[in-house]
């Protein structure tokens, strides 16, 4: 997306060369408008960025200074970060978060592709109903079904204290990813699929060889969303992993980290930034896919 504007296009070169009070007035108005818009934008942007700045500055303060309300560190204690990593359990939380987010994403993508493909490109009875059911699943608060699910995982499968009850269901289609990918697949012209079939491709081969390569941006978007969802999830790990600190994720462990360092805001802020860091790094590498995905949910969706 480029910086397109909603205002009428600026006057063509021929008219702007005209001299006279009217042209000068128009020019002055445009400049004032530019200044006004950009001043507001800078002010708002500062409000959005300042929390990160304060969190970072506090994360490198000494223990005592971090409690003082000072805004600028007297001396830079980079060792705070080292200390955070040396906190018992912290590395394990990383491993668990990576496992949950990595496997969760893989499972989601693999199961969403065939379902979304069928919903977008097959004609069959009940297609509309299936779409409505997918949407209503998206709309269901997770708390509504968590109790029976917990009982099944804990009592029948004895998997409480692990992250598997969160990871396994992702192999069976995540409604949000299916919906999003299906919207994306609708934009692929059906001529490509038809010509693949004329060439003798079966439905599965058409999907793997033709549709998946063309749908890469859509697949990247659902993969990113799912990765972030798992990385950020707090409710799920609280339900299933709470009893077993060895299964905690970063998002879940962070709060206990704060409790363990009750007064050390500097450590807590360093840990907070470390929890945010992977998400923000991934965003910078995959900005386009991400913004495309958000747009797709809202506008085409």
């Amino acid at each position: 997306m480029t910086s397109t504007t909603l205002t009428a296009p600026t006057a063509p070169a021929a008219t702007s060369k005209q001299r006279g009070p009217a042209a000068a007035r128009a020019r002055r108005k445009r400049i004032l408008h530019w200044i006004a818009v950009h001043s507001v934008a800078i002010a708002v942007a500062l409000l959005f960025v300042l929390p990160f700045v304060f969190v970072f500055l506090t994360s490198v303060m000494s223990d005592s200074q971090a409690m003082s309300g000072d805004l600028w560190p007297d001396s830079w204690h980079w060792s705070n970060y080292k200390e955070v990593f040396e906190t018992p359990g912290f590395l394990g939380w990383w491993r668990n978060s990576l496992m949950y987010a990595g496997l969760g994403t893989l499972f989601t993508v693999c199961s969403a592709i065939p379902v979304a493909y069928a919903l977008a490109k097959f004609r069959f009875r009940g297609r509309r109903t299936a779409m409505l059911l997918v949407i209503s699943t998206m709309m269901l608060p997770p708390q509504v079904i968590v109790i029976p699910m917990y009982l099944v995982w804990a009592q029948q499968f004895h998997l409480s204290g692990t992250l598997w009850p969160l990871i396994i269901p992702m192999a069976f289609g995540d409604a949000y990813s299916i919906f999003l990918l299906r919207q994306f697949l609708l934009t692929i012209p059906k001529e490509y699929i038809e010509s693949a079939k004329v060439d003798g491709c079966g439905e599965f081969r058409t999907m793997v060889k033709i549709v998946v390569p063309m749908a890469k941006p859509g697949i990247a978007a659902i993969a990113l969303f799912q990765f972030f969802y798992c990385w950020n999830d707090y409710f799920g790990p609280q339900i299933y992993a709470a009893q077993n600190p060895g299964a905690w994720t970063l998002s879940y462990g962070l709060e206990s980290f704060k409790s363990a360092h009750a007064v050390n805001w500097n450590m807590t802020m360093a840990a907070t930034l470390l929890v945010m860091a992977p998400v923000i790094l991934v965003f910078f590498f995959a900005q386009k896919a991400f913004v495309e995905g958000v747009t797709l949910t809202g506008v085409k969706g």
Partner: protein, 311 residues
């Protein structure tokens, strides 16, 4: 090949094959637990002894005797109304602003968008620190200009508004959605309106607004559903702000201070996983479900982005 494709039975089987992951997932992880929630709402069950049928006892308990149900429901509805309204207004304003920016648009867009990505727990812990009454940078700055800042997360009157601030910081997703919708409005319509002598407000009222109404509806519907599930931020803010030395899994009265940040989902967790009152927890789940569904259907009646996605 053409022969096999035209075979309807084969085709049905093929469709089922492609849909099978979702069909299994839908029945096992959606339909079954939903039915089981209804079943348990009529049972007394402490997760150890066999469940016993108690009729409507759980329902009357929740609605008539449970002391925290009233505050939790009121807080949840307060958050739904205020948070969704402010998020939509603020998200739309930011979307309008970003479409008017000509220099450094990418930089501004990133600045507005990045907070949305911050994991909720991390963002909440950071905000409790920033708004810490005694030592936080925000009150420190307010102090230098002679304002004595509020107690934010530590005052029942300002705890929920502080949560709203936190959620407005993460407005990036709505901004992007509105921005895309605004860029989709045909430029010719603005030119035509200008020829008719329309001012900025008339252009918004008669050109922009009708074009983006479905997206606004989409934002409202998804916002309501998301806020009905509001959990992590409220819980973490209450726990961290209370300053009590407690780890995850510990039993505390949620909703610090004075239950002002207690939401229905928190109550579901407390009932189901701390008090082991499965029946009451399932009743609460169903209340949540009923409200979310009712609001969604009400809003979907008008043409929303979700319904127009149907074909």
């Amino acid at each position: 090949m053409a022969m096999t494709l035209s075979n309807p039975a084969r085709r049905r089987l093929r469709t089922l094959g492609f849909l099978s992951p979702w069909l299994v997932g839908f029945s096992v992880f959606f339909a079954y637990p939903l039915i089981a929630t209804v079943y348990f709402s009529f049972m007394h069950y402490n997760q150890i002894k066999e469940p016993t049928f108690v009729g409507l006892r759980n329902w009357t308990y929740v609605f008539e005797q449970m002391p925290l149900f009233g505050p939790a429901l009121r807080n949840t509805l307060w958050l739904v109304v205020i948070m969704v309204a402010l998020r939509v207004v603020f998200g739309l304003s930011l979307g309008l602003l970003i479409t008017k920016i000509k220099t450094g648009a990418g930089l501004f867009r990133t600045a507005f968008y990045i907070p949305y990505l911050a994991p909720p727990v991390a963002a909440t812990v950071a905000f409790v620190f920033l708004l810490n009454p005694g030592t936080g940078p925000v009150n420190e700055i307010l102090g230098t200009v002679g304002i004595s800042g509020p107690n934010w997360f530590n005052d029942p009157d300002t705890a929920k508004p502080s949560l709203v601030l936190l959620s407005l910081w993460g407005i990036g997703d709505l901004m992007v959605i509105f921005m895309a919708a605004l860029l989709d409005v045909p430029k010719e319509q603005y030119e035509a309106a200008e020829l008719d002598g329309a001012g900025a407000w008339s252009k918004f009222r008669y050109v922009t607004w009708p074009a983006i109404t479905p997206i606004v509806m989409f934002a409202v519907v998804t916002g309501v559903v998301q806020t009905m599930q509001y959990y992590t931020q409220a819980l973490v803010a209450g726990k961290v702000a209370s300053g009590v030395n407690i780890g995850p899994g510990s039993v505390i009265q949620p909703g610090y201070p004075d239950h002002s940040t207690l939401t229905v989902p928190q109550l579901v967790y407390q009932m189901g996983f701390q008090n082991f009152n499965t029946g009451a927890a399932c009743v609460l789940s169903l209340v949540l479900f009923a409200i979310a569904m009712a609001v969604t259907m009400l809003l979907m009646r008008k043409r929303s982005g979700l319904l127009s996605a149907e074909d």
